[in-house]
């Protein structure tokens, strides 16, 4: 990751299971360690030695959302979402083969875009 953010990640099941769905929990902070609740984290993964990614398309949980307040409108069809404590969750990850995996994190937030990779051997 570049020098804009600090990112830590964990999974809902440890170790990561073979050929089963799991979720990635990412905590996003700024350089001082303060959590960033108003960004986004997209997580994907691939196997460089195999030349492919996952057979699933992970979905990021929206966070804690409420209808967006728009002046003069009786109701809203859009949402304001936030991620308390800088926690972002992506569901639908699946490592369907054993071997070397790379998790890819694509971050956007108030400090600008950034990316990070993490290696994992299943």
């Amino acid at each position: 990751m570049g020098d804009r953010y600090r990112l830590t990640w964990s999974t809902d099941v440890s170790p990561i299971p073979f050929n089963a769905l799991f979720a990635v929990r990412t905590v996003l902070r700024d350089r001082s360690g303060a959590p960033i609740p108003d960004g986004s984290v997209v997580v994907d993964a691939s196997m460089p030695q195999h030349g492919h990614g996952m057979p699933t398309r992970p979905i990021a949980r929206p966070g804690v959302c409420s209808p967006k307040l728009e002046p003069g409108a009786a109701a809203s069809s859009t949402l304001d979402c936030t991620h308390p404590d800088g926690v972002y969750v992506s569901e639908g990850m699946k490592f369907h083969m054993a071997g070397e995996w790379v998790l890819h994190f694509v971050v956007s937030g108030p400090l600008g875009p950034d990316t990070a990779d993490a290696h994992y051997t299943l």
Binding site: L21, H50, P55, G63, P67, S77
Partner: protein, 391 residues
């Protein structure tokens, strides 16, 4: 006699004419392959464990009256005497298909069904061949009429009145067939005895020297990349480059199946499913914890780059008795399958072969040993006759 043992500190597999030692890593792999655990639940089928549904499903499975012309039953192709396959290259019902008949012995453990995974439950799968004009050539309306005519008592016991809607009736018929299929499983094999003795006694001489050698070849050759776990299948889809001769159009396998399962009205998220699905409502979006329904279907990536020409990894349980092989039945013998992996001839017409595959170039002795090992996965006690015998 050759004995396989595991050595707590062994770092590699020791080959030789005498005893064989499995490393801790290899032992973990071998132990993961037996025994077969109980099947997972079937959340889309509330009748999956109901005996009355299973009894009805057995009747339906063997009933030729479900077909369009009364000539073909599920059991015509899924013959219990052949471990629920038919021994033919491709299926032949009312017409001639293009794919080999897979066994249903492991249906209860599967996530995706058909070679291309175009169904996401065993009951949804069962409704496919009934309506396929090349297989049973029936219809939802025909199934409803047949159950009224021939299965009234068993149906009432399982489900109550026959629904007016033929699509609901067909879905329930499929759920009964799934309940029956869940009473079937591969029987205990000599390999299972071997693993049990490894686990409990630290060694086993149940397998012959050739079979143990074959196990070593199986472990060393990367077979477990896909043929993993107690069913010897990752239940996933891979393009292994089976030579294809396009005839009536190329069979692109999972690339189409992944889309079809998303569109199937009988899928997990459909109205016929017994999973409680809450319609999406953006205004209630939240990080609320708890399981959400149909995760495999919801997260499926139908545009995954490796889907073209990918087909489901078949189980290797009872594989010695379920020739011919591959999705198109194009290889007659297990030795022939090993030869495919020895040479990996040609390149796939589209997509690419699984990159982990390299030609094995096994010797004749190694190839024979591998085939001998695969035969140890044959069940000991014959067919599960209580489940599979014709009524």
């Amino acid at each position: 006699m050759r004995t396989t043992r595991f050595e707590p500190l062994a770092l590699s597999l020791l080959l030789g004419c005498g005893d064989s030692t499995l490393s801790q890593k290899e032992l973990a792999v071998v132990l993961s392959m037996s025994p077969i655990p109980p099947p997972p639940g079937s959340p889309t089928n509330r009748y999956a464990e109901a005996p009355a549904a299973a009894a009805l499903g057995k009747d339906l499975f063997f009933d030729k009256g479900l077909s369009g012309d009364g000539s073909t039953a599920c059991s015509t192709c899924h013959d219990p005497a052949r471990h629920f396959t038919d021994g033919e290259r491709v299926h032949t019902g009312l017409g001639v298909g293009s794919r080999n008949v897979p066994t249903i012995e492991t249906a209860a453990w599967q996530t995706w069904f058909f070679w291309d995974g175009r169904a996401d439950s065993a009951w949804a799968q069962a409704t496919g061949p009934i309506r396929n004009p090349l297989e049973m050539g029936g219809s939802a309306e025909g199934v409803r009429a047949r159950v009224i005519d021939a299965h009234g008592v068993a149906w009432a016991s399982a489900f109550g009145p026959v629904p007016d809607d033929p699509m609901v009736t067909l879905a329930l018929a499929g759920k009964a067939i799934e309940a029956f299929e869940r009473t079937i499983s591969p029987g205990r094999s000599r390999f299972d005895v071997f693993v049990e003795e490894l686990r409990t006694q630290g060694g086993s001489s149940v397998l012959t020297e050739a079979e143990q050698h074959g196990l070593e070849v199986f472990l060393d050759s990367g077979c477990t990349n896909c043929h993993s776990g107690p069913l010897f299948s990752d239940m996933g889809f891979h393009n292994i480059g089976v030579p294809q001769v396009p005839k009536g159009g190329m069979d692109i396998g999972r690339a189409l199946g992944a889309t079809r399962v998303q569109e199937d009205p009988y899928n997990c998220l459909g109205t016929y499913s017994d999973v409680a699905v809450t319609p999406p409502n953006a205004l209630t979006a939240t990080d609320a914890p708890g399981p959400k329904p149909c995760p495999e279907l919801r997260f499926l990536d139908a545009s995954f780059d490796d889907w073209p020409l990918a087909f489901k990894t078949p189980t290797l349980r009872n594989v010695a008795l379920t020739a011919p092989y591959m999705h198109d039945g194009s290889i007659a013998t297990l030795r022939g399958v090993v030869e495919l992996y020895n040479e990996l001839p040609g390149t796939p017409l589209i997509g690419h072969r699984e990159l982990t595959l390299v030609p094995l170039h096994l010797t004749g002795r190694e190839s024979d040993a591998l085939v001998a090992f695969l035969a140890t996965l044959t069940e000991e006690d014959g067919l599960d006759s209580s489940a599979g015998a014709a009524p």
